[in-house]
Symmetry: D2
Subunit: 344 residues, 4 copies
């Protein structure tokens, strides 16, 4: 199956290339980059020299659509929607990594992102979290791949909301992310000289991933859920570590909380529920499509702590998109994704 | 004034040396190290070559007491108490950086740390947080310098508890610390190869600094306060970033929360209340004795977010100990501590 | 084909596991670790949870030999030789990652490493650098995989020595390595707190990899070659960057030097000769089995600069061992090794 | 004495601020920044909040000259010369941190940097390496502070050239630098996501600091010296580690080489000659004005290895400029510079 990658020179796009080069059933036929159109991939990115014999195309979906069966669109939000529309019109299946079709409520989208260029596709996109929407993803033609932070928060939280075990008010999500989550932005704060040995919170209770988390939390709870979402920037390239703080609606021990997670994810290859006493680390998931989750009940203080780790570029972006593409195409879900994290 | 540093070859001890070498009124007369007794300081630590012409002594307080007027004890907990007892007996003023005299309730101490060797000094130590206990520190003879995490949590939280503006139940403290906070421990998890590009939560709701935070929070609130304290390990050498999540007892805006902090710390040199829109960073305080604090109200979700940053080895240990020593000796409080963080 | 990994809990051993888990024709049947015997792999190393369903065995080659067709021995030098001897006796093919059989001159071995336990196998091992010894590696039963530094130095240097284009005297090799090259040693200098933002030269002109480089350089030159080898420790986990400084025997331009490298490695998949103007980076090879090489002639000063980069755990250890194993077993040489470096 | 800092928002300028804030005899009266003119320093750089109560001025030397007795010009090359000319015209003493007056041969300057705007001041500037030019620096009115790489190479090399102990041909200098040496450049290669866990050589035998090294090496040798200079980029913020490879003109042991360095620098506070067996590290000098040097003779191969470490922003820029200013003003040379490196 021929696949195109739009926005292939950004971090998520490059990670798609790295992973797709290992995929036995997907063949990269087109890669686009506005800034590098015409340049051979291996010249622009020496890591890819000898691995991929293609040049970047300009992102012209009309012209390129016939050269692919499925497209990954790793473009900035707002830039993605028109490309997606053209590709869908041409019959190309699309796994969109941008934010353009993640939110199902157009008003919420526009409140956080501004006007939407192709609202007609709202409601036609399946939310690409296979652990929650596997059935709808099978054979889907348009998938909106989740944000990195939402994936890390929703996976540990949803089982508790579904079971009614935690209050829907007052949920706090404290996430810590490596800098690749921001893309290849030439911002002074992302320079090595300013980020090494540094860390900070940013967009406190004001990050665009909050409404996405709330959307999925509300579905799970069956009623509106609001969260206080506080992202932090870490001096790492990859990885998201998330702590969700919530209050049980009834006494819950650590053992019971873990049992609930184990039950929820017993059949999920990419979600690993850690045994009691262990906490998720960035290192254990780096480069892999796993999301590790854990739970600790602080019964003394009436607080339940849910923890997760994932690689923002894999399970938080490119890997999850391929997991979705496997479902869209009817391939085994883990195809091309059986990677083990570096150690060390 | 002659000062001795017990445990001078640990990270807090070395930081004391770095800072004391800049202090115009304190002269290092004795440095001890069990492992390096007899070795010249500059030979053991090349960074100190040409800066300090002393050799390490074995930690024998009886023999050494007459060579100092004030001692900093940077020893492991339990090892500190007997040294402190001997020094006090000999009339030496002591700023203790260990945990041995931080908790005022012996039962709480023993529940978290085990039996205490010199409980007779319980209640004779002043808690060395000058912003809260300045009056008692003036002329004190025994000071228990706070833990690094408690300093980072107590400074932003106390004004709100004193004002009755936040609920005393359900407080969550999510802290992120550089690895020097653990001391020079030969633990595989602290190796560069395993910590770089890594991060994790540890001792979730089970860290010894929790009761210390609760002690000071309870004093501020005038009633028992419990907290859920979740420390994280960051891939940085220095620095603690803390987020305190609590629920206002009445509607509180960001502006009002910041005004309360500004009022509380208007006369405090080492606590900088950041303007609205700015969040504390590790870089801005690294190497300095500052603690930067901020507040953001998430009114939509009924959560108040308090943030702080400090250098765990300075305001969280050695710098704060010198700040206390300045008060004990009647020197200006900022003497020797006017350092600016590296940038970059 | 069933393979065993002796010393599977060290860094080279773990990297073997990561890579072997992707290999379509090699199946891990045994993993040993003295310290972790009996422990399930995924419990000891969370990154491997869900990936490898084995427990560590104690390193008892007599007992284990029948459970494998080929063994990778990733043991410390001196510890490897007896294990290799037992395995060979039992008819198991061995790719040895230790230093025990790299040197062909026993006197040189013993001068640098001390007495050798099984000198009878000296001369029976093929030096496992496929780019130089491919023919002998095909079907070999005992392979001594090269050291990481030697691989990085020998690959760019050998073509020039073979062509007689550089003087054999006065060669200087300045290498910079990430800390994983030292293994999981609990040395204070390898702690994150002491290595981050740090770097230094060590074992200057006194490192055990020098005689190994000299052995292969001498073969290429057809006469004895001595080198000044200066390794440095970098604050990275992985990677070796090497600069070889030598003097041309006749005027050599950058273009001619690059042409010589291109000619030498035209058919080598894992050696990438960079175009003029580009220099090798650690990032471009991290996690992959590539060695990138470049050459710059400083004609003004009569010096030829040869540069290389590789991942010390892949092309410098585990990846190269698998490349050898592929040749030993008659598999395609790149089998299981087509990995692309992370970007970012 | 009132001092102005031109280009105060760059890395060298900010480091000047950090160090000047500790100087008992120099008072910062003016700070300029084109990009931040009008902005309070503490608002632009939170690390300086509470430390320096000034706003940035636009860099208008005519207008500002009367407000300072001495100026530090930390501007890009070419931009510095006109500012220096105006300041000198107005009678302000100048320590120039740019490259504009380091080279004494105008033809060499123009070959590497292009046309020079104020060649009339060529020959009026003293090269600001106090260890070599102390006498001329006393009372000087215009000082050209050395580049960071040249300082690191010249200090260990000059004693050997002066003594005629090393050949003047074939000298190789392999330097490794933290990224702050490049200034706050918004270059993708300097992003944390692309530099962490990375390293590379750049501008091989083609860096502008080569002619500066050659100038001072030639003075020391009494005849023209050429060097092959190969700089590398390290994943650290600060620090330069340099290895100089040269060939002795007669047999030289490590002991004799170290004795020569000790003799040369016996009276130099800021140059520390390490004892045999120790090598310079970045950590030992970070934040301090020290340059650590060492020598190892590889007698077997006829090569002498000279090593050095320094902090590129201190001894390599701002600290050395203050050391010069102390000499220009007749203050003790170490005034304000007695800082100890962080450990850890």
């Amino acid at each position: 199956m021929r696949v195109g990658v739009f926005g292939a020179s950004g971090y998520a796009g490059l990670e798609l290339l790295r992973l797709l080069l290992r995929h036995p059933k997907l063949e990269i036929s087109v890669v686009t980059s506005e800034q590098r159109a015409g340049q051979p991939v291996g010249e622009a990115f020496p890591a890819l020299r000898g691995r991929l014999d293609l040049a970047f195309d300009a992102a012209e979906p009309e012209r390129l659509a016939s050269r692919m069966d499925l497209a990954f669109t790793a473009l900035p939000h707002a830039a993605s929607a028109p490309t997606v529309a053209v590709l869908r019109e041409a019959g190309v299946a699309v796994a969109d990594i941008s934010a353009d079709y993640r939110l199902r409520d157009r008003a919420v989208y526009e409140a956080w992102y501004g006007p939407h260029g192709h609202p007609e596709l709202f409601g036609k996109a399946v939310y690409g979290l296979p652990e929650l929407y596997r059935d709808q993803l099978a054979g889907a033609q348009l998938v909106a791949c989740p944000g990195c932070y939402p994936t890390s928060a929703v996976l540990p939280l949803v089982p508790f909301l579904r079971a009614g075990l935690v209050e829907t008010a007052g949920i706090v999500i404290d996430s810590k992310s490596g800098v690749s989550g921001a893309g290849r932005k030439l911002d002074a704060g992302f320079l090595f000289a300013e980020l090494d040995e540094n860390a900070k919170a940013y967009k406190v209770a004001d990050h665009r991933h909050a409404p996405e988390i709330e959307q999925e939390a509300s579905v799970a709870a069956g009623k509106p859920v609001q969260v206080t979402f506080v992202p932090h920037l870490l001096p790492t390239v990859r990885g998201i570590l998330t702590a969700v703080y919530c209050r049980p609606t009834q006494p819950v021990s650590t053992a019971r909380a873990l049992a609930l997670l184990q039950e929820a994810y017993a059949d999920e290859f990419f979600v690993r529920v850690l045994p009691e006493g262990e906490t998720p680390t960035l290192a254990s998931v780096r480069g892999s499509n796993f999301c590790d989750v854990a739970a600790i009940a602080d019964e003394r203080n009436g607080t339940l702590v849910l923890l997760s780790s994932l690689d923002n570029l894999v399970k938080g972006a490119a890997g999850q998109a391929i997991q979705c593409a496997n479902l869209m195409a009817g391939f085994p879900e883990t195809e091309g994704l059986l990677e083990t994290a570096f150690l060390p």
